[in-house]
Symmetry: C2
Amino acid sequence: MPAMALRYAILTALIEDDLSGYDLARSFDKSLGFFWKASHQQIYRELKLLSERGWIRGTAEAQTGKPDRILYALTDNGRSALDEWVLQKDRMRLHETRDELCIKLYNLSASNVGYLHARISERREEMMRRLFLYERIRRNHYADPDSLPLRRKGVYLALMGGISQGEQYLAWCDDALRLLSRELPEVDKAATASADTA
Amino acid sequence: MPAMALRYAILTALIEDDLSGYDLARSFDKSLGFFWKASHQQIYRELKLLSERGWIRGTAEAQTGKPDRILYALTDNGRSALDEWVLQKDRMRLHETRDELCIKLYNLSASNVGYLHARISERREEMMRRLFLYERIRRNHYADPDSLPLRRKGVYLALMGGISQGEQYLAWCDDALRLLSRELPEVDKAATASADTA
DNA sequence: AACTAATATGCAACATTTTGCATATTGGCG
DNA sequence: CGCCAATATGCAAAATGTTGCATATTAGTT
C-alpha cells in the first residue's frame, strides 16, 4: 500500500472531533495544516474513499441557516488502521525546503535583487502572522506541557517545532533583507525605506 | 504556463557548468538538492523536454573508462527563460514541513513512544551528517561572503538558510528526545541508553 | 570467465497534488 | 429583488513525483 500520508492526517484530525469536509479543509489551513496542506478537493475525495473502506462513517446533518453537511466520525477500523500506520516505516525526507525562492536566490543579479527583496519581505510578513497564530494556540492550550495527557504532548512537540522553525525563518529573512538592501540600486532603496515606515 | 520549478532548478544548475543527467542527479543530492530534490527519472525526462524546446543543448561525449554521456549546456534562449522566471510571481508556500513524522507525533501513545523516539534519533543523525556537508561547503567556498560576486551572494544566503534551519532542527530533536525519554517504559529506556553509548 | 559495482540513460505505470470548473443553500446589503 | 459572500460539496483534467523495470559500458573482484 502506498504512503498516502494525507489519508492518515485526516484520520488524525478526526480523533477528538467529528468533522465535515469543510471543517477539515479549514483545519488544514491551521493546526495540522502547518505540517501538511491539503485542498478541499483532496479532502473530499479522500473522505469518500475512507467512507467506502469503512474507516470513517459519515452522517448527513441538517443545519439551521446553512446548507446540510456530512459529519464524519472515526470508526474502530479506522482507529486501528491509524495506530498501525504510526508504527510503519516512513521514508525519512529530511526537511527539503522546496521553496522556489531558494532556487531564485541562486539566480541573484542586479536586475532582480529588488524583486527578491520584496518577495522575502512578503514571506517575513506571512511567517509573522503564522507565528502569532502558533503562539496563541500555545498559550491557550499548551501553557503547561507537563500536565498534558501523552497524546497532547506529541502535538505540543510538533507545535514547538513549528514555532522554533518559524522563529529561525524570521531571523533568516532579516539577515537576507539586510544583505540584499546593501545591493539595492539607490532608487529602490529609498522606496523600500519609505515602505518600511508606512 | 505551470510552475515547474524543477525545470528552472535544472537550468540554474547549468549556469556555471555543463552537466550530464547523471551529474545533475548527483548535484540534486547535495547543494541545490538541499532545497529541491529530484530523482534521475524526473531529471532525464526534463532534460529531453528542455532540449526539444531549445533551452539547453546536449552534446554526446565519449569518455575513457566509462559509458558515453550527454553533456548539456544552457542556450541563450534558456538563459533568458530563466531570467524571466525569476521575476515571475511564485505561490508563497511557506515552509510546510510535510514530514509524516509530525502527523505521527499527533498520535503519540504509550505503544508508539519508543518507535517515535527511535525515528527522531535517526533524523537527528541524518541532519547532523547534512550539516557537516553544509559547513564544509561554507568553509571552502563562502568563507568571505562580502567578497563574493552578486550571484554567489544569493547562493550564500540560501546556504545560510539551510544551515540555520538545520541547527534549529537539531535543537528541536534534542528537546523532543528529552521529552519522549521521560515517557519511555523502563525497558526501552535502558535499551536507548546503551545504544547511545555504543 | 562469471559476478558485482559504478557510471549512464531511459520507458511505462502509478500515485499524488493542483487547477479549473460546477453546483446548491442561506444571509446580508443596497 | 438582485448581487455578493460564506458555507458545503463535487468532477475532470493537467501537472508533478515515485516506483519498478530495462539496458549498456567498463573496472575490478572472485
